[in-house]
């Protein structure tokens, strides 16, 4: 599709949201479009960045991600201290988090996309990621349905750095841990490496600004997975396969309300649609790109990985966006537990990816 008619369609959807849903949701759509354009325009792939570090000792993607986390923390932690209406992304440290993050890190390498990566690549028209998206939603929904059973394996209360150490202490701890991350990366890659390419830098700055806008407008950090689970839940309800009143997670007052109202009132749904639209807009400039065809076995493995991405991200209280970017930038301990487990999963995931010749 050409860029002008696409821009007109997105503008029409914006006006529809203003008139029929709320101005806030309409503005959040613009934030999402910006995120999609930044992710696709900068090719800001969390999965690719980790894979380049593991396989080629190329630190540029991870440095870009550290820059994003530093900038987003610098904005989010003082805002959380200033405005009591704003929420941090606080997930409980739990057995489910450890297992979920590991499986997520493993499967994101096979599926070649994390939460945001699957969205922007689907928006750009990559066939596997378009096929994965419905299974991601199904997995995310089933993960939320089973969440109470996973949590019964063991959990503690969420830990927020800002609550424990104040805004200044939380910032100091977050920056200290980010510096430690860079030191570990430096030890792995050795000397003489280029640390940050231009596209990773501008992508990090753009995403940090947009994530901060998301926090200010919606009152909650950027997320991806909750919206997918909501879509799956609505479809399961419509097919009479699911009764939310009998489920621990979906019978909670907030979730019970959201699953009965239109998904257009859900914050993560709107930004997810925006990311798809923004990525499509970027791909319209470049034109449709020929892609490497996949063998049937690769399709099956990729789609299974996509389902597991959705399921595990619910167990892990977020994907690379909800747990890593939003968790770490708002001072949640669970974000810092998520990263090493997901990275350990990725160490295996890149080998599985090679085995199946993706």
């Amino acid at each position: 599709m050409k860029r002008f008619p696409l821009a007109a369609l997105l503008a029409a959807f914006f006006v529809f949201l203003v008139m029929a849903v709320s101005v806030r949701q309409a503005v959040l759509l613009l934030v999402g479009i910006g995120m999609g354009a930044a992710l696709a325009g900068a090719r800001f792939g969390f999965t690719t960045g980790w894979r380049q570090l593991i396989e080629h000792k190329d630190p540029q993607g991870v440095t870009g991600q550290v820059l994003l986390l530093a900038l987003a923390s610098l904005a989010a932690l003082p805002l959380l201290g200033q405005f009591p209406e704003l929420h941090a992304a606080l997930g409980p440290p739990s057995v489910s988090l450890l297992i979920g993050a590991f499986v997520f890190g493993l499967t994101m390498q096979i599926a070649d996309g994390c939460g945001s990566g699957t969205l922007y690549k689907a928006g750009m028209g990559v066939p596997l990621n378009m096929g994965i998206l419905p299974l991601f939603a199904l997995g995310s929904f089933l993960g939320s349905v089973h969440l109470d059973r996973w949590l019964s394996l063991g959990q503690t209360e969420p830990v927020g750095f800002a609550t424990a150490f104040g805004t200044g202490g939380a910032l100091a701890l977050t920056f200290g841990l980010l510096a430690l991350t860079l030191l570990l990366v430096r030890a792995w890659v050795g000397p003489g490496r280029q640390w940050l390419a231009r596209r990773w830098a501008w992508g990090a700055v753009a995403l940090a600004v947009l994530a901060t806008l998301n926090l200010l407008l919606a009152g909650q950090p950027w997320g991806v997975v909750y919206g997918f689970g909501l879509w799956g839940g609505k479809l399961a309800m419509a097919l009479n396969l699911f009764d939310p009143t009998t489920n621990v997670f979906w019978s909670q007052p907030g979730n019970a309300q959201r699953i009965t109202q239109t998904v257009l009132m859900d914050v993560t749904t709107i930004t997810n649609i925006g990311i798809l639209g923004g990525a499509l807009w970027i791909s319209a400039r470049a034109g449709a790109q020929p892609v490497q065809p996949l063998a049937p076995r690769q399709w099956v493995v990729g789609l299974i990985a996509g389902f597991l991405l959705g399921y595990s991200s619910r167990l892990a209280f977020g994907c690379n966006v909800g747990a890593m970017v939003s968790g770490i930038s708002t001072g949640s301990l669970h974000g810092w537990l998520w990263v090493p487990l997901a990275f350990a999963g990725s160490l295996i995931g890149v080998r599985v990816r090679r085995h199946y010749r993706f």
């Binding site: 029929a20 806030r24 209406e85 949590l151 919606a218 909501l230 239109t262 790109q289 747990a323």
Partner: protein, 58 residues
């Protein structure tokens, strides 16, 4: 290589599926009470935020 025509066909199916889902959801859901519209900017609004997020255990 998969041809660009094939990719465009996949894209059409994907977007029609998504639009179909959103259209069905809109038609099947209760109407929105616009008088209960949330504040444009949550920060400083004084209102409790009620959105869902993947970090939530409940």
């Amino acid at each position: 290589m998969v041809s660009t025509t094939s990719t465009r066909r996949w894209q059409l199916v994907f977007w029609l599926g998504l639009l179909g889902f959103l259209g069905w959801d809109w038609a099947a859901s209760p109407p929105i009470d616009l008088r209960m519209e949330p504040p444009l900017i949550a920060a400083g609004s004084g209102q409790e935020v009620s959105g869902g997020h993947c970090s939530m255990a409940k």
